[in-house]
Symmetry: C2
Subunit: 334 residues, 2 copies
Amino acid sequence: MVTMSDVAREAGVSVMTVSNVLSERRPVGAPTRARVLAAVEALGFEVNLTARHLRAGRTDTVALVVPSFHDYFGEVADEIAPLVEAEGRHLVLERTAARPEQEIASLGVARLHLYDGVLLSVAALEPEQLDRVRTTKPVVLLGERDVPGRFDHVRLANEEGARLATAHMIAGGSRRILVLGGALETTHMMTTDRRAGWETAHREAGLPVDDRYVVPVANYSSAGARDALGEVIASGLPFDGVFAVTDVIALGAISALAASGLRVPDDVQLAGFDDLDVSNFVPPGITSVDPNHPGVAREAVRLLHRRMADAGAPAEHLVAPVRLVVRGSTRAAR
Amino acid sequence: MVTMSDVAREAGVSVMTVSNVLSERRPVGAPTRARVLAAVEALGFEVNLTARHLRAGRTDTVALVVPSFHDYFGEVADEIAPLVEAEGRHLVLERTAARPEQEIASLGVARLHLYDGVLLSVAALEPEQLDRVRTTKPVVLLGERDVPGRFDHVRLANEEGARLATAHMIAGGSRRILVLGGALETTHMMTTDRRAGWETAHREAGLPVDDRYVVPVANYSSAGARDALGEVIASGLPFDGVFAVTDVIALGAISALAASGLRVPDDVQLAGFDDLDVSNFVPPGITSVDPNHPGVAREAVRLLHRRMADAGAPAEHLVAPVRLVVRGSTRAAR
DNA sequence: CTGTTAGCGCATTCAA
DNA sequence: TTGAATGCGCTAACAG
């Protein structure tokens, strides 16, 4: 590895002069500067950022830690990156290990010290586990689980979004709406909140709530959704609407509906959550709850910057508003 | 920040003993060990990885550098992560800046020194630019552009895949097949190669090749594809098949076809490339060229490990085989 | 404008 | 089994 010493020797100057030329933190005479740059070029020197980071006590890097790199998280990451870069920092993505129940543990808390700040997407960590995470690093949590109050946190208006989507389908004439990917557990998490919104919409419309219409989905995957809905269809349980708790699940649903010859929205209305890009393009267009990714990204980065600037600021807990994007998979109110 | 010195003082031992307890590189007496661990716990010590990395001269971290975090790259990243982790290293994702023409330049070559190895997905970098990247770091290039011979490189059998997909649609009866997202430029890149495969299939079938059927798509996005195909439809140019150079483009195509009342595959057959998850679920299922992501990931990581173990090994240039996955958007041979 | 000294936190080497 | 000295590569602070 070529170091500054090598460059300094080659250019016949001190190491500090090389450092000053490269960082431009102090003026350097033109001829000296030229010799240094020539030496840098000749030797192919690249500054060792690890050393710089150690010296500086910071890395100018922010990490976004996600359960997986694809779908929802990839889209959010692309929103966050420019905001972080606008402040002169870099964004890197880290993935929590395959077993989400480990999350930070699997990643190693020490790794967080590699970054000036961390956006941690909490998929499966319990509040108690999270509470044991003792890091002085600025951390902002993202995600739909409850978290200890001392953390900054951005979550979505899950129940409200689910209520909007369900009420819209009720207004469009549906009377037996499945909540696909819903769960009956009472632990507070995304799927519970969205099921609750589905229930609220029913109560508000004076419709009965039937637990048989709460259909779990393995892995929250499209494949799991297709299989689960296929089984419902095979069972003969009558339904005329599907609220999928994520768009990934809605995608599996539309596949199962098509396979059974059920028309969307004529026979079955369908709505999802997340407003992924794909929902805009899958015919007939999937009505979806838009969580406003850019807004969420902006808020998360804002909280992180605030926290980095003032470690003692009181924690903020934001609930990002959502709105319904109506597309062809649902009918207008009748 | 709590350092090893703090822990050492608290435990009444030397810094080295703390280091040894934590790294387990040398045996430490049980009572001493217990005191150290107690001090670590009491002070909430976390090892400073930046310092460790500087000292060790390596970071045990591999970077995957991609143009964007979503879609194709997110899916590949999820394949690569476990392979890297299996060797005891971490994977992080970095994104090249918004302007792909900058790519590495935007990222800063120095950043590559933060990692023991780099998988660089080359979307837009010209071979000449790449040639100026003088890094002694182990680097493996991914992507469909030509690259300087000294780099290890994994690419897909783009032309072959495009030929397979096109020939399949010809066998299914299509005679006027658009290549959506194709380009006529002669610079070697993904879109050129896939257009070439489309052309080869036509020649092999004795069908004429008409440049009007090469339709560029803005940004290679679904929205761009929908608009581009919409214009073709409006223009009245007759066609009965669409080869989309990516599945993202195929998704836009299926949207435009549905909007125009064209049935898939009855009126128009459709095939894509990449075999994204979504292609399996969008009715009627999008026939797609499967680039075998797990295989590509495996080969890329293998090359990187080889390069990290032996910097002087001759460069390998792999072309990963592809296969066609037939779904409902195309017809069986007639 | 340029050089010297010192030290960021950790782990290798050598000594006890 | 434990400790002391040393330096990884860089830059702040202080000379000159």
